[in-house]
Amino acid sequence: MARPVAIVGTGQTRHCKARPDVHQGELIQEAVKIALLDADLSWEDIDAIVLTNMELFEGRALPELWCGEFAGGLGKPVMKVATGGTSGTSGAIAGLMQAASGVFDTVLVVGWEKHSEGSTQTGMSLTDPAWDRHIASGAIGNFALSISQYVAERGVTEEQAAMVAVKARRNGALNPNTHLKDAGITVEKVLASPMLAEPVHLLDMCPQSDGAAALVIVGGDKTARYKNPAWFWGSATRHDQPYIGDHDQRMVKMRTLRSAAQEVYRKVGISNPFKEIDIAEIYEPVSYAELAWYEALGFCKEGDAGKLIESGATQIGGELPVNPSGGVLCANPVGATGVIRVAEAVKQLHRKAGDYQVDGARRALVTGYGVYAWSDVMFFSAEQP
């Protein structure tokens, strides 16, 4: 990178099923105001803005036109990043690179989604009309097919997957911003929830949420006044072939995430991710995905993900807490979700994570996921590169 950059402020709405009291612009305004307050900056301090939103979910085109001014964008360069589930992490990477390049000193990244306004299954099903749209089954059926391969290959059990959902909702109960919270959830309750597509139960899946999240990025001299900036050390992005059937053993191999993680580990000098990372905020839209991502990210050996969740090592207080915020399983406003992953990792380094603060968190990993074909991996540290 041309020069060091850090995230010095984060802001989030209270994510929930529906926010009928605000329109999209008013929703992001809430997150932006909190982020600016957190960074002790005002609207005029922002040089450039990156927006992230999957507009087809709301059916309202050109969100950068309608919503730019609610992020303070008037008279400034505003751009939009929309790459499915990775929108938020890719937008954050874009903002970090803008600041690292020296072109801008202070960049605001804002992601949001209002799933309550549209039809999420329709948005998920707008695939190639010539080939796979007529058999599109939305996210759940696709996940279930991938999971059937992962289960056949690795032998993970429904109970081990349910333990991921339990960890997420118990962590979520500590997070005032997240959508689903259940301090009393048990493996039995997950397994007793309705079967959506075998072996995926309702409580194995993420919700559809309304919510927004914002990040304040600074570079150069602007970092000097902050006591504990979350320094950006590096990132990697991978895109893959377009059709979901193109990816051999997609959840088992997950080559985009695996390859991006290896590049980031090499860039930042990590040889044993499980030992050298203090906290991870990863994009797990379904419980089984978290297990598969443990393997792809090298948190355990291939096939040991079930044992890793059973060991408790990924809980708060464990050796490598994964998604102490509750993760995507607790809140999924898609365009904001990757921004939330970054914000939650940064909050840990800022020691502002409240009841789910991980003691001694100094090195954080973030991932973004979009239908196997896209992966982002990012690394932040309390230490300046």
Binding site: G59, D128, L145, S148, A197, E198, Y243, G245
Partner: protein, 177 residues
């Protein structure tokens, strides 16, 4: 709309400061997406030969279904058409219990139904499709299926109606007995 049914919307009689208005819009529009040169060739072959074709990469030898003019892995152009079989193997399977809309009728599909990830003989890629079987519980990874085409082919992807379950694949060692 996902709004609560008791939301008053723009009904002034129920207007309260804590209840917010929304605009409801239903769109019935048509898109005409050009399928391109390669898929035009694919659908014309399907209609005249009742057969699916893939595209083979001269470098990695991978056969792509649907065919496309570039091998993403090798960054190479492809032009070798390969006739595929009318059967395949289930490599992933789920039984769906949630309601999704049938794109042909607009009605929710009857549940439960079997969704398979199918590798057609001769192709290296897979596709999702519906699997018809006497009992969803019978269907397993490794089982064989056959394409059921519609009687009067139209030269589009709807020509594949579903896949018929043929039963379990012979286990290794059994085939020679």
């Amino acid at each position: 709309m996902n709004k609560p049914s008791d939301n008053p919307g723009n009904n002034p009689a129920q207007e309260k400061s804590t209840e917010y208005l929304f605009s409801e819009i239903t769109m019935d529009l048509t898109w005409n997406t050009d399928v391109g040169e390669t898929m035009t060739g694919f659908f014309k072959r399907l209609k005249t030969e009742r057969c699916l074709y893939g595209m083979r990469c001269s470098e990695c030898q991978r056969v792509y279904l649907p065919p496309r003019p570039v091998c993403g892995d090798c960054w190479l152009e492809m032009n070798e058409w390969v006739a595929l079989g009318n059967q395949g193997t289930i490599v992933g399977k789920t039984v769906c219990h949630y309601k999704i809309l049938d794109s042909l009728t607009g009605e929710p599909r009857k549940t439960p139904f079997v969704l398979g990830l199918i590798q057609i003989d001769g192709a290296h890629t897979t596709l999702n499709h519906f699997v018809e079987a006497p009992d969803p519980a019978l269907v397993s990874i490794g089982d064989r299926v056959e394409i059921v085409f519609r009687d009067a082919l139209q030269g589009n992807v709807g020509d594949i109606v579903h896949f018929q379950w043929l039963g379990p694949q012979a286990k290794p060692g059994q085939r020679d007995e």
